[in-house]
C-alpha cells in the first residue's frame, strides 16, 4: 500500500461510519451495550495510543524525555489548561530535556 492509498482508505472508512449513523435504525441505540462499548472503545484506543506514543520506539520500549512531558501534560489538563497550551508546553519540556542531555 502507498501512503496515499492508506490515507484515502482510512478517510473514506471514517466518513462512511459517520454517514452510517443516519441510515441505521435508531432502535440499535436503545440497547445500552453497543453504546457503552463504543464509548469504552474510544477510551481504550486513546489510552493505548498514549502508551505507545510515550514509551514506544519502533518495536521496543524506551524511557526518554517524552514521559516527563506527558506527565506534565496530564497535570495541566487536570487543572483545565487549554489544549493548545498543554501541547506546546509538552513539546517544550521534551525539547528542553533533550537540549540539556
Amino acid at each position: 500500500m502507498t501512503l496515499w492509498q492508506i490515507i484515502i482508505a482510512a478517510s473514506i472508512v471514517v466518513l462512511a461510519l459517520k454517514l452510517a449513523g443516519y441510515v441505521v435504525p435508531p432502535a440499535l441505540l436503545a440497547k445500552p451495550t453497543p453504546s457503552r462499548i463504543a464509548d469504552l472503545l474510544t477510551v481504550a484506543l486513546l489510552a493505548a495510543l498514549i502508551a505507545v506514543q510515550t514509551l514506544g520506539s519502533g518495536q521496543s520500549l524506551a524511557l526518554d524525555a517524552r514521559l516527563p512531558a506527558v506527565i506534565v501534560a496530564a497535570g495541566l489538563f487536570a487543572i483545565k489548561t487549554p489544549f493548545i497550551v498543554v501541547v506546546i508546553v509538552a513539546a517544550l519540556v521534551a525539547a528542553g530535556l533533550r537540549a540539556l542531555t
Partner: protein
C-alpha cells in the same frame, strides 16, 4: 386587560430567538477553541512523514480529530508497513461518530444533500452542542453552526500547522513526538469521569505497552481495544446504565 394566554406566543417567540442566539454563540466558541489545536494536528502530521496535501486531505475528508491523530500516530511508529493497522485504528475511533449520527439524524433536517453534509460534520463537538440545546430549532442551529465553524477552522489551522511543521525540519528536537502523546492525553481526559472508563484506560495502556516489543507497530493498539469490548460487554465496574446520556457530552473534541 389582555388575557394571559395571548402573551404566551410572543414570550415563546422571544425565548426561541434567544435560544437560537445562544446556540450560535456556543457553536462559534467551540469552533474557535477547536481550530486552535488544528495547528498541532497539521504539524504532527508533517512530522509523521505526510506531505501538506495528504495532511489537508485527511482534515477535509476524514474530519475527526481522534481518528486523524490515531492514523498519523500509527504511521509515525510503523511507517507504510503499518498501514492496515493505522486504518483500523482510525476506523475504530470513528465508530462513535456513527452512534452520534443515530442521535442527530432527527435534528438536522431532511433532504439527501443536507443529510450527507450533516453526516460529514457529525463529530463530538457538533453533537454535544446540538444535544445541549433546549428546543428543536436551537438544536438544529447548534448542530450546523458548530459543525461548520469547526470544519472551517480545523481545516484552515491544519494547513497552517502543516506549513509550520514543514518549516521546522527535525521535529524530535522540538519535542513534537511528546506533543503528539500530549494531544492524545487531551482527547482522553474529558472521558475519564467514571471508574469504568478509568479502569479501561489503565488496562488498555498496560496491554499496548506490554505488547509493543512483541507485535508489529499498530497492532498493540488494536489488541488493547479488546479491553473495551470485554469490559463493555459484561459491564464490569459499570454501575447503573444510562443509555442516552452517554458519549457525546463527555468529550468536547472532534
Amino acid at each position: 386587560m389582555t388575557p394571559a394566554p395571548l402573551t404566551v406566543p410572543a414570550a415563546h417567540f422571544v425565548d426561541e430567538t434567544r435560544q437560537q442566539r445562544l446556540a450560535v454563540r456556543e457553536g462559534l466558541a467551540v469552533g474557535l477553541a477547536t481550530a486552535a489545536y488544528g495547528v498541532s494536528f497539521g504539524a504532527l502530521s508533517v512530522a509523521a512523514g505526510l506531505d501538506i496535501w495528504q495532511t489537508s486531505f485527511i482534515s477535509i475528508v476524514m474530519f475527526s480529530g481522534g481518528s486523524q491523530f490515531a492514523l498519523i500516530g500509527v504511521l509515525a511508529a510503523g511507517g507504510v508497513a503499518a498501514g492496515p493497522a493505522a486504518i483500523a485504528s482510525a476506523a475504530l475511533l470513528g465508530v462513535r461518530n456513527g452512534i452520534y449520527g443515530m442521535r442527530t439524524a432527527s435534528i438536522v433536517g431532511s433532504g439527501l444533500w443536507r443529510r450527507l453534509a450533516a453526516g460529514w460534520i457529525t463529530i463530538d463537538e457538533s453533537t454535544a452542542v446540538a444535544l445541549a440545546q433546549p428546543t428543536p430549532r436551537s438544536r438544529r442551529v447548534g448542530f450546523w453552526v458548530t459543525g461548520l465553524a469547526v470544519f472551517i477552522g480545523w481545516n484552515a489551522t491544519t494547513l497552517l500547522g502543516a506549513l509550520i511543521g514543514d518549516a521546522l525540519g527535525d521535529t524530535r528536537a522540538y519535542g513534537l513526538d511528546a506533543a503528539a502523546a500530549a494531544a492524545f492525553v487531551g482527547l482522553l481526559w474529558p472521558r475519564l469521569k467514571r471508574m469504568q472508563a478509568i479502569a479501561v484506560a489503565v488496562a488498555a495502556a498496560v496491554v499496548a505497552a506490554t505488547l509493543t516489543p512483541v507485535l508489529m507497530p499498530g497492532l498493540p493498539v488494536l489488541v488493547a481495544a479488546l479491553v473495551a469490548v470485554v469490559v463493555g460487554l459484561f459491564n464490569w465496574l459499570g454501575g447503573p446504565v444510562l443509555p442516552r446520556a452517554a458519549s457525546a457530552r463527555k468529550g468536547l473534541r472532534p
